[in-house]
Symmetry: C2
Subunit: 302 residues, 2 copies
């Protein structure tokens, strides 16, 4: 059964969805798929027995397995939702078992290296539609998912030129069913934008929270106690999944290092303004940054 992306929402969009990894993002998609019956059958593949049990217990999928070849067999949509360093070996393992016409998509936060590591392993008779939902929380695991996670948020798709248009439309339809708005981007451009909007902020947050963990014990105790003054907002971001983020930095190295370089230059200039008591420079910057906040509120992304 192949459905048009314009099919009535009461009809399943897919025959069988295989979630590879059932963390925050995939489990949020799975919640919507089950609620709205967007797939006739669903399966989650997870290495962790705890996560498999949780996925069943929470009713996120019909079936769980630790075997990726079993998961993808007969699936018309395969959704990669593991840390991106696992993609290449997953692609290699699943390739011989993919049905003709199957769509492979993913939710990884970097796109160029993902495409480079997955595409060479896939057979010609499947379609790869890389994606990235711009949504999340600092929590991880199948329990952390939320049906509302994608509502009003953007999902960016970065299909290579020549990708089957019907496959793209079906992935788009799934994200729109989750309440997301869908946009298309060149993978390299995606990685550059995300380096600034996501990867650099996480790197900074991890660093500042790390700096605080290295303080003397009594000082560290007070940093926690008085965290409501700004610090705690960084700790929320710095509580994100360690392995996922390790992979993001390693797989978007160039763009992250480039935006980090810009940031460091700007920080040095600010440091100098403080040292020399240049209040006007500080006030000028702080006034400009207020305007950015207003733009985000107007763009309804606050």
């Amino acid at each position: 059964m192949v459905l048009s992306p314009l099919a009535s929402p009461s009809l399943p969009l897919f025959d069988r969805i295989a979630y590879i990894g059932i963390g925050l993002i995939n489990s949020s998609v799975a919640r919507v798929v089950q609620r709205d019956r967007l797939a006739a059958a669903t399966v989650a593949c997870a290495r962790s027995a705890v996560n498999r049990a949780a996925a069943l217990h929470l009713g996120l999928v019909d079936v769980v397995t630790s075997d990726v070849t079993e998961a993808v067999t007969g699936a018309d949509l395969i959704m990669l939702g593991t840390p991106v360093s696992a993609y290449e070996s997953l692609a290699r393992m699943m390739a011989p078992h993919l049905s003709p016409g199957a769509i492979i998509t993913d939710v990884g936060s970097v796109k160029e290296t993902v495409i480079r590591s997955v595409t060479p392993h896939l057979p010609d008779h499947v379609h790869f539609v890389p994606g990235h939902p711009i949504a999340g929380t600092e929590h991880s695991g199948p329990e952390a998912g939320l049906t509302e996670l994608f509502v009003g948020r953007w999902t960016i798709l970065t299909p290579p030129a020549g990708t089957n248009p019907a496959a793209i439309e079906r992935v788009r339809a799934l994200w729109e069913s989750c309440g997301a708005r869908v946009n298309f981007m060149n993978p390299a451009h995606h990685d550059r934008v995300l380096a600034i909007t996501s990867h650099l902020p996480h790197l900074i947050a991890y660093t500042i929270v790390g700096t605080a963990t290295d303080l003397e014990d009594d000082m560290q105790h007070e940093v926690i106690k008085y965290s409501a003054s700004g610090f705690r907002d960084f700790t929320r971001i710095a509580a994100s999944d360690p392995v996922m983020w390790r992979d993001i930095f390693l797989n978007n190295k160039e763009a992250v290092l480039e935006s980090l370089q810009r940031f460091t230059e700007d920080l040095t200039a600010l440091q100098r303004a403080i040292r020399w008591g240049q209040g006007d420079k500080l006030e000028d910057l702080f006034t400009r940054t207020q305007a950015i906040r207003r733009s985000i509120i107007e763009a309804q992304q606050a």
Copy 2:
């Protein structure tokens, strides 16, 4: 009328409270004071006619004035809530008009320079109890205040040795009436702790949002559009009052520059780990920072 700090909450703690400045913090205190009738009379002094009108319109105080000498005359509590660079001239102006036994307190985010700039101007017959509530939002002005702002949060008092104990107790009673927990600290130590928990995070947030404002136009548009991926949390912090924050950095220069130095070293190490693909170092740090988040949640400051 002088009341014991243990007076019944139905009796006013003060005869006349003068708020010098009626921004986020002072207007939040004023809301609690009016709601619980903690003062027999209240007055707000503000330079901005708009803020004076708002304070009256919102019923935050009985009277408003632009004249600081008029405001403090007859007041038994004077609460400084302006940017800290204004404190010295305010202290000089109000000094001749302060009633014997009057208590001067403040809500400034730095304490050493505040004490140095205010104390020399005050007459011997008044009491100075410097304070700092560890609470706030990114919004400013009298409309931004909230009765609940201090509930469960800490207020730090930094009275110099020899300060009248009864005066300290009355200031403590006011903050406890606002729902805050009160702690005492040496001013220099306060400034060091806050440099890490508050001033450095704000500096970093201002910087990263500034870095984004300097991007090419199309890129900037996308940064706003896809801000939900981490960046927007920084924009919230970087929307804080520019003049207030300019003053904080200029008045806590040494401690801010020292914590910035530590941060920069740590960021450089992380940059190096990314460049050389040292995934274990990244994962190790990211795992440690998760623990800090848990401590904050346990300390109920999240």
